[in-house]
Amino acid sequence: MMADDHDGTTSGEAAETAVEKHASSASPGVAVERADRIPNPGFPPERLRVTDTDPAKERAAERTVSGLFLLSVVGSVLAVVAYFAFPIVEGDPSTIRLNNLFLGLGITLGLLGIGIGAVHWSKALMHGHELVEERHGTRGSDETRAKAVEIFQAGNAESGFTRRSLVRNTLIGALVATPIPAIAIFRDLAPAEDPIALLKHTMWEEGVRLTRDPSGTPIKASEVTIGSAFHVIPEGLTELESHKLEEKAKAAVLLMRLPLDRLNEREDRQGWSYDGIVAYSKICTHVGCPVALYEQQTHHLLCPCHQSEFDVANHAEVIFGPAARPLPQLPITVDEEGYLVAKSDFTEPVGPSFWERAL
């Protein structure tokens, strides 16, 4: 594109006439167009840089720039040296830090040397005048547009796209139909089962022992003291050949003992607890984080993800935060050896809500 060097005020007039010349025909809408606007004063007189006037300064700037470029070379060399001079020694994490630090600093120097040098070169030494380039409207000229219309019309006439409507419409139909197989073949992104059924069951069933997470050792009722909280998984989870995490993501449970006078149990859940010991799903009913923080004093469970708070003393109902539903309760009892066991699976789906959850 044409770019004119402007020198001070003279081209100011040029700028002004440009405004007149291009005063576009497009509607200004509700813009106010005044006749007595203050006119554009044109370009101010140019200011010279010290490097333009003082040859000594110019030479100094030249030296600075090439010095920076040299520094960059030094940095790159240092980076390679650091790569070999600071190897990672197994079992010594500090060597990783040193390798990271010195390799990084070398590369940094290599990059910043070039960067700062080039910018300084452009600012101090390159021809510093501002240049002016004219803008033209974005739209094509009338001829160009007429030509484009002509081409489309010719294309239409020669193919008969509008005229042969049957051909056109069947083509559109075919194009709409082709992506359908692409959608269908995504079905096998997951196995054939019905996910909704899977969501409604966990590993828990009658007689399954409550065991510690992650060791898998069973828990005696007598071990659960007031104020303690156990992170619990169903017995057999650790031995699973597959789907260990998937089952854990549904079956994780928290176990706590509350003083009997604090425990407020629902009528229909009589017998779900054992001697003040209650078990609740650890999977937040909001969007599924593990509700891992237990406050012994208040018997509140706090979800660290979005701070939903559940009151264990009152069947884990929501007292704060975005969760909508209480944590599902796992009915428990003890077996003849005194170990805590489940009385059944959860009686409702655990974790976040889904469309078919209540069905």
């Binding site: 813009a31 106010v32 203050i38 380039e133 899977l198 969007v287």
Partner: protein, 520 residues
């Protein structure tokens, strides 16, 4: 020199490169510090591509379970996915691996941040106006893609923290009416977490999303060249010219140098500051979680939106569950993003201005737009702060309930306050500009008049300085007028009331006549 000539000729005879050089070589780019924000975004993306390519040579996205045998002692013997194992190996076994991981992560944070700031610059200066509305939309898509790339990348190491992020995504997807459970099942290839999600995200992260991103960056750049860059008002600068430095050599040197500076600063940060120390978190396990963990900053607003919803919002209708506690934030954010994407079209409709605009406005000179922007920023900031509600509460020893309620207030009422205050401030600034343009500024020189009175001498601006203060666009509210058939359409009425909302309060620029009468 002979070689250069020969090579140039060789290439031109085969590519017509001289045409490109002729058209683009002396293109003019105006200069302003805020124009560099977009450049930072572009350059950090190049850094992301380079460091990311290095990482792909060593990363293995498989979710097969293995036992850790690497050199990081605390995790030895612990079962984990191959993906997590190989992320640890990149950090601990490969020289420069940790550096590249950190470069990649820091550059990604900077990438999204600079896009965000660049968008704010474009918004507040009205640089999205005709003919750049479509480029605004492309830029918006780039922003969304950048966040998607960030999130998919963040998930790849399969550590405890990123796994929890995926768990949250899973929970949100499940809340989608009709198909949520199915979508989650298909996405994860099984029940959550399954063994497919990391490889799938990996393909999205290194292939599909970057390909779209690169294509859109290309389109963004082409339109930038076609439309030419906006410039701020200044003496000699008009709507019909571009004033600045030519690509060859000044802009090329400056921009090229700036690329190296951005790259260098990212590497410097990466060599000094640890980011995402996955070895501290351990492999993903659905059961443990640590308090006080944070997502990457750009996910904060979505996470915060989830936190600010009051309890118990869920209804069951005919047996089907509507999880409003997830759907409201989700839809709210989509509406917010859509509003940002479509704003240029709204403003164009309200003003009815069909002219091209190449002068970047000073934010104060369009008070309503600037106020709307400030309201949007406040809304976003409220959500964003909410993502750290627990940290704010523990750090300042406040109750979490108090923090949440305060941020609910900021998010809901804050935007209105911000709108009102910003608009007033803009108008006050315009009034002050007008005052200065007319009467000059206080020189600080006190003079005693013959009558004994003291006055401070006002010094007039010269024409060049004044130009900045008087050369802005002014709009007035639309008058409702009956159309050709003598009717006033509802559309017209809406447009009129919108334009009243936009332009009722306005300050006209100083005119030539006012200036002259002031002088005499």
């Amino acid at each position: 020199m002979r070689f250069t000539g020969w090579a140039a000729n060789y290439i031109d005879e085969r590519t017509s490169a001289s045409t490109a050089v002729k058209t683009l070589g002396r293109k003019i780019f105006p200069d302003h510090w805020s124009f560099m924000l977009g450049e930072v975004a572009l350059y950090s993306f190049v850094v992301i591509l380079l460091s990311g390519t290095f990482l792909t040579f060593f990363f293995d996205p498989s979710m097969t379970e293995v036992e850790y045998e690497g050199s990081y002692v605390p995790l030895q013997g612990i079962p984990m996915s191959v993906a997590y194992h190989s992320s640890l190996d990149i950090s601990f076994e490969i020289r420069g691996g940790l550096l590249m991981r950190q470069v990649h992560h820091w550059a990604a944070l900077l990438f999204v941040a600079s896009i965000g700031l660049h968008m704010l610059r474009v918004f507040f200066t009205g640089a999205f106006r005709k003919p750049r509305e479509l480029n605004w939309v492309i830029g918006f898509l780039l922003f969304v893609l950048a966040m998607a790339l960030g999130f998919t990348g963040y998930s790849l190491p399969d550590d405890l923290l990123s796994g929890n992020g995926l768990r949250i995504i899973d929970g949100m997807i499940k809340a989608v009416p009709l198909a949520g459970g199915w979508i989650s099942y298909l996405l994860f290839g099984d029940e959550f977490p399954g063994t497919d999600i990391i490889p799938r995200l990996y393909v999205l992260h290194i292939l599909l999303l970057p390909a779209i991103l690169v294509a859109l960056i290309g389109a963004h750049m082409v339109l930038l060249i076609v439309n030419k860059h906006t410039q701020f008002a200044g003496p000699g600068r008009t709507n019909d010219n571009v004033v600045g430095a030519p690509v060859m050599p000044v802009f090329a040197a400056k921009a090229g140098g700036f690329f190296f500076i951005v790259f260098g600063v990212i590497v410097l940060i990466a060599s000094l500051f640890t980011i995402n120390p996955i070895w501290n978190y351990g492999p993903y396990d659905p059961s443990p979680v640590s308090a006080g963990t944070q997502p990457d900053w750009y996910i904060g607003f979505a996470d915060g939106a989830l936190r600010l919803i009051p309890p118990h919002l869920e209804t069951v209708i005919f047996g089907y569950t509507w999880s409003w506690n997830v759907l409201i934030p989700l839809v709210g954010l989509l509406v917010f993003l859509a509003a940002a994407a479509l704003y240029p079209f709204l403003e164009a409709w309200v003003t009815g201005d069909k002219r091209e605009h190449h002068i970047a406005e000073r934010p104060r000179n369009n008070p309503t737009r600037t106020a709307i922007g400030a309201a949007g920023v406040t809304f976003y900031a409220g959500l964003w702060a909410a993502a750290s509600s627990d940290l704010i509460a523990t750090h300042f020893r406040l109750s979490i309930e108090g923090v949440i309620h305060a941020l609910q207030f900021v998010t809901v009422v804050g935007p209105f306050i911000a709108y009102f205050v910003t608009k007033r401030v803009c108008l006050a600034l315009m009034r002050k500009d007008r005052e200065i343009a007319l009467h000059g500024f206080e020189s600080g020189r006190i003079v005693r008049l013959p009558g004994g009175e003291y006055i401070e001498v006002h010094e007039q601006l010269d024409d060049y300085e004044r130009w900045k203060l008087v050369s802005y666009e002014e709009y007035q509210p639309l008058m409702v007028r009956p159309d050709a058939r003598g009717r006033i359409t509802a559309r017209q009425r809406v447009r009129a009331s919108m334009s009243r909302w936009f332009f009722e309060d306005r300050i006209s620029p100083v005119t030539q006549r006012e200036l002259e009468s002031q002088r005499h």
